[in-house]
Amino acid sequence: MGSYIPATDYDTRKMLDAIGIENIDELYRELPDRVRLRGNLNLPKGMSELEVSRKIKEISEKNVVYPIVFRGAGAYRHYIPSVVNSVISKESLSTAYTPYQPEISQGVLQSIFEFQTMICELTGMDVANASVYDGAAAAAEAIVMCQKRKRDKAFISETMHPQVLETMKTYCFGNEIELVTIPEKDGVTDLEFLDDHLDEETACVCIQHPNYYGNLEPAEEIRKMVKKRKARFIMSVNPISLGVLKTPAEYGADIAVGEGQPMGLPLSFGGPYLGFMACTKDLTRKLPGRIAGETVDSNGETGYVLTLQAREQHIRREKASSNVCSNQALCALAISVYLSAMGPEGLKQAAVQCMSKAHYMAQQLEGIGYKLVNYHEFFHEFVTESKAPVDQVMRKLEKSRILGGYPLQGDRKGQILWCCTEMNTKEEIDTVIRILKEV
């Protein structure tokens, strides 16, 4: 049994003597006798490190690691430069608490400040926070930011990721915001519906761009409709796409959010990921979570602190705009390192490759009868019909150790959502085409 407890019997005795008691149990005398645990917990015995690592490894091997992946749908496999893992393994950065003592936390604080800067640069927005739990939580928190007394209705496009949509519903239920979903029309947000239904009680409109089906949304038109009603415009964006696509700021968004996972975080069965949030200057004080700011120390040197804390739960308690306490600091660090390693050219390259390969694949699939469902401009994901039953297609690909596109459900059953990144080679794409021809 291991427990990482350094106390020897001698130490324990010494401490008990100093307190003036016979055994540790005496310290638990306030516990009600009636419900104290008597015997052991019903758990296996503790194990040595070798046994534990054998056991966990054995469990991990029950999973299948696909060397070739054409699936995205909210979690994307990108190249992670080696330097990312090296930096986030540094022990002082990775094991520190939230930087409440700035004198000994300048490393963490500065890295948050740099992260905020990079998110502002990517999105074109004025201000960013230190991150929230994931892209879905970021989108949900963005809606809460827009809630006003006379504006408590949020319009959310059905072309958003279904899990993000579901998360927003939960947050709206909690915060008592009326959520209206804008239907999908031919793979993008239904503009007509939106124009008909927006009103003076609308707090915000939220879209995903590129959307769940990979399509680029008519963001300009939506922005115009939203602004006419003096509501806020929220865009959830794919950060890699910003290497080539217009920034949310250029589209006129008030708040930009997104899932940070594509920037240097492994797939990890869904987490830890990171939600980034950025906004225009006038919304600064509505931003939830931690924010690092620049200042000077007692020696006149530039330094960083957590600032605007008057918004936060530990000061405002029940009047706080959000209860966010922990963010995803180490993930933010990974993303900062990723973006530093990629640089402006590298990120653009990654974006261009994602887009180019997806278009090549779409073209090849069309060639063998897997027709595109909608013809919009798209980034690195797109939806096709399937010529054979989808399960059969997937099973066939899995036999060749390829994780195929994501089988869509509901009204879109029978369709496949494909994704390409810079990780996919032309050869891999050609292999998929060859296999599909045989199904």
């Binding site: 049994m1 427990s3 407890i5 106390a7 324990t12 100093a18 310290l27 009600p32 645990l37 917990l41 758990l43 503790g46 999973n63 696909y66 699936r71 022990e91 094991t95 608490y97 930087p99 409440y100 700035p102 000994i104 490393g107 963490v108 500065q110 740099e114 990079m118 879905a136 998360t167 939960t170 008592e176 300009e220 910003l242 290497g243 217009k246 250029e250 797939l267 990890s268 869904g270 830890p272 700011g293 007692s298 040197e301 602190v305 600032t307 739960q313 966010v324 306490c325 922990s326 995803q328 600091a329 973006l339 530093s340 990629m342 640089g343 402006p344 180019s356 278009h359 401009e377 032309k426």
Partner: protein, 488 residues
């Protein structure tokens, strides 16, 4: 120096091969116009930069870290190795069920272990942090009352010693908070509590041991009062380290529990996340848990949607790799290790408190649990040396200060949590430092107002940071600066 100030235009790493298909760019309508400013650096620049930042940070391996309510215990290395296994790291969350049985076994096993430890029946790993867990648990309470048509219950009772996240979480679900005063001895005032409950009571949120580090011995009466009034009871698991394996929240009468895997179960804090805040509940509440739960059927794991689920609080299944680390730790501890951790955490705290009692005021007399609170109110009156001054002076000893000015009901509070992974020698050194500082407060108070002096940075001007907001590096300013330089 910021990463943006390192490097040179045109410098970079060679990471990607050339594109092997014809290049496609977005149409002009969608093409990015704004130039992208990111660092242009070499790999060496990056490593030097972050090595420097690492040296300007303080982690659990840099020294004693008795930060109250945060349970800064040692983060075992084997946990990191396990979380780095490709069989976990490289698994797509939407991969077919047959290919993710290992991940589901991890979730299922961790759920079983943690339910046994807390006395709960089911658990979700969706919440990414403690506060996220509170939000989840309160939504479940809301969903429970609404499902019974009991829509008038909108008040959550929270003792005045609670963590700040509790009241903030209450507001996030559209409830209002009723604060209940603590008694002289630090426990919940039962008479006040009886007065506070009624037909509008949705539930109670409580930490036990509380934020004073005290175990409330009336806990069974407290949960009974809430249940009798028709409310539900929520256990904030931030302080579970003191009692795991000794008593279970479920047996104390709690219906819902959140845990902080990054506190009690040894996963690293990462400078403020990622954490993991699983939420457990008793059987009758399980139908409201977030989607999805793992179910074992004919030897295979599948996902099941609870019948009246509150939905999702984030995408996918939570901070999965954090769960892998916590389960590694649980396998290591086993049934003997779990209570042993609690006992030694409590022993350390009582020992340290005893060693300081004659100099620093300890406002509560009962044995403490895993942490204790000192009040420096009298010291400040006598010497003008505040809790901040003592905390900052500890930094010069290479010690991370205790939590300051919390809980709010103790004036000039310092709250220390010397976790079980700290040795007697480390605690003795810290006691020595605390005692020296007490002396110094009387002989040379001025030097304490100046502290710290040996840290990488001095005391920060927080007011200036809040008044003159600089929340990002300004490339344009910098370029203007460059041109000015050239003009000179």
């Amino acid at each position: 120096m910021l990463i943006f100030e390192r490097g040179e235009k045109g410098r970079g790493l060679s990471l990607l091969p050339e594109c092997d298909v014809p290049e496609v760019l977005p149409d002009d309508d969608h093409l990015r116009q704004k130039p992208l400013h990111l660092p242009e650096v070499s790999e060496n620049d990056i490593c030097r930069h972050y090595t420097k930042l690492d040296k300007k940070s303080y982690g659990v391996n840099d020294g004693f870290y008795p930060l109250g309510s945060c349970t800064m215990k040692y983060n075992p290395k084997v946990n990191e190795d396990m979380a780095a296994l490709p069989g976990f790291r490289e698994i797509h969350p939407l991969a077919p069920l047959s290919s993710i049985q290992g991940c589901m076994e991890i979730l299922n096993t961790a759920e079983n272990y943690l339910c046994e430890i807390t006395g709960m029946d089911r658990m979700t790993f969706q919440p990414a942090a403690g506060a996220h867990g509170e939000f989840t648990g309160l939504l479940m309470i809301k969903a429970y009352h609404e499902s019974r048509g009991d829509t008038e219950r909108k008040k959550i009772i929270v003792p005045d010693s609670a963590h700040g996240t509790n009241p903030a979480s209450v507001s996030m679900v559209g409830y209002t908070m009723v604060s209940v005063k603590s008694r002289e001895d630090g426990g919940v005032d039962l008479d006040e509590l009886r007065k506070a409950v009624g037909e509008d009571t949705a539930g109670l949120m409580l930490t036990n041991p509380n934020t004073l580090g005290l175990f409330d011995r009336h806990i069974l009466e407290i949960t009974q009062i809430i249940h009798d009034a028709g409310g539900l009871t929520y256990y904030d698991g931030a302080n579970l380290n003191a009692i795991m394996g000794m008593i279970r929240p479920g047996d104390m009468g709690f219906d819902i529990v959140h845990l902080n895997l990054h506190k009690t179960f040894s996963t690293p804090h990462g400078g403020g996340g990622p954490g993991s805040g699983p939420v457990g509940c008793r059987k009758f509440m399980a139908e409201f848990l977030p989607v999805n739960l793992v179910k074992k059927e004919d030897g295979n794991y599948t996902f099941a949607r609870p019948e009246h689920s509150i939905g999702r609080v984030r995408s996918f299944y939570g901070n999965f790799l954090v769960v892998v680390r916590a389960l590694t730790y649980l396998f290591t501890l086993g049934r003997e290790g779990v209570p042993s951790v609690a006992k030694h955490a409590v022993l350390n705290a009582n020992y340290m408190m005893e060693q300081l009692r004659d100099v620093y005021d300890i406002p509560y007399q009962a044995p403490c649990m895993h942490e204790f609170v000192m009040s420096l109110e009298n010291l400040k009156k006598e010497t003008k040396v505040s809790a901040t001054d003592i905390a900052k002076a500890l930094l010069d000893y290479g010690i991370h200060p205790p939590t300051m000015y919390f809980p709010l009901i103790v004036k000039e509070a310092l709250m220390a949590e010397p976790v079980e992974t700290e040795s007697l020698a480390t605690i003795d050194e810290a006691v020595q430092a605390f005692r020296e500082l007490y002396e110094k407060a009387h002989t040379d108070p001025e030097s304490l107002h100046q502290a710290p002096i040996h840290t990488p940075a001095g005391r920060m001007d927080e007011l200036r940071a809040a008044r003159h907001l600089i929340l990002r590096y300004d490339f344009d300013e910098q370029q203007k600066g460059d041109t000015n330089d050239k003009n000179h």
